[in-house]
């Protein structure tokens, strides 16, 4: 019985240590860019959630589609109503993994480029996404930046013929997160 109790405490200690190895932000900046000769469109969301498990290299990002801000109100309305259908699909989520993960040493400042791959779910469609990401460590914080492209057609987002010259078929997506230890 005593062994069990000790085991029990050790176990909880383990959980504690593990959770200290998770880093997070609730103010991650996700932006996207659609560049065509006729129109430049960009949307920004600065309240995205991101959690990185330093022990395993697991990474998850989530953002509210309605949280994207645009220069023009009409773009924002059309983005939500016609393209992303944010009432039906309120969130965009990425769940993935840093490939060939070797544990990050948080105590040392530095910068590494890693490959991240995983599932991106938005507009009700899940697709595999792979991208390079730059991970830098600066006084106990992890700064992660990634750029990648997605094809709208992959996510079942249709562009009507009338505006096909104004909206790019492939969007550039930027992710910038500064992660702090999760207590």
């Amino acid at each position: 019985m005593r062994k069990f109790i000790i085991g029990f405490f050790l176990f909880f200690l383990g959980v504690q240590v593990m959770s200290a190895q998770k880093y997070f932000t609730k103010t991650g900046h996700i932006s996207f860019y659609s560049d065509t000769p006729l129109e430049k469109i960009e949307g920004h969301n600065k309240s995205s959630n991101c959690v990185l498990d330093v022990a395993t290299g697991k990474l998850e990002v989530a953002t509210l589609v309605k949280g994207f801000q645009f220069e023009k109100a009409l773009m924002q309305e059309h983005f939500n109503e016609n393209y992303m259908e944010s009432d039906k699909f309120p969130k965009a989520v990425f769940k993935g993994q840093i490939d060939n993960y070797s544990k990050l040493d948080i105590s040392k400042n530095g910068k590494v480029t890693v490959k991240v791959s995983g599932d991106l779910t938005m507009h009700g469609v899940t697709k595999k996404v792979t991208t390079d990401a730059v991970v830098s460590i600066n006084s106990g914080k992890i700064i992660a930046d990634a750029n990648f492209n997605v094809l709208l057609a992959d996510f079942n987002i249709k562009i009507p013929a009338l505006v096909k010259d104004q909206i790019a078929k492939s969007l550039k997506i930027k992710v910038a997160c500064t992660l702090e230890p999760l207590k």
């Binding site: 309240s47 959630n49 998850e60 109100a73 009409l74 109503e81 999760l182």
Partner: protein
Amino acid sequence: MMFKNVLIAATFLFLFSSLSAQEEDLLSLLGETETTDYTNASFKTNRVINLHSLENTASGVLDFKISHRFNPINNGIYDFFGLDGANIRLGLDYGVNDVMMVGIGRSSFEKTIDGYIKYKFLRQAKGKKNMPVTAALLLTSAVNTLKWTNPDIEDLLKNRLFYTSQLILGRKFSESFSLQLSPTLVHRNLVETLAEKNDVFALGIGTRYKISKRIAINGEYIYLLPDQVANGVTNSLSVGVDIETGGHVFQLHFSNSRSMIEKGFIAESYGTWDSSLEGIHFGFNISRVFTLKRKKLEN
């Protein structure tokens, strides 16, 4: 003893399962941050057809509206089913902020200039703030600038003025269906006969149903309380379709009203929707928006 073992096993099982569930979903560690999600796009534009909808022009956006109501369709082929002549209203609507908008317009009918202010005092929302309806107050005034022809009455500005106060109460019930009620008071400083009231009370109802992402069917009906207006005036009934194409909204409709301002379409509609279809007009509103104040986005 046996029971104890089972208990221990069960505890472990439980702990492990909860732990692995956490492992599965890192994001759940952060919990949900509650935000207020304001409902928007209840209607494609700030008008149902003639009635103001519960939507405002967005903050910093100028909406240029070109509206026509053609001659009655029952004029027949000689008048190209009414298309040979039209009442025109040119209007500018501007969103001052998220809850207030102002507008001006000029109608060819009775050479009338109108202006209004619309203020949303409740916004439909869910999440942190919960509000089932949107409610707005609309105040309009209109001045008739026709040459004065009545020799018995002095030509004073006050004799040319009309005011409307309207409460707009509505809800976007689903992605495609919105409904609103518009109790209205139209005040006319001068009326033609004693039988006509200066104050006209009416209840408007407006609705839209989206049949695709960019096309919606709209309808509106305005019920006039009895014994307030001139003989032969009918309740306004309009049906139409909204087509949205990027920066434009085209509203095409049929209506028994020919005026595009409140005092006209509420208190001076003469067309009838019976089988004779007398005085039914085809018409359109074209809305083109210009973003005057862009939202600042820092990178």
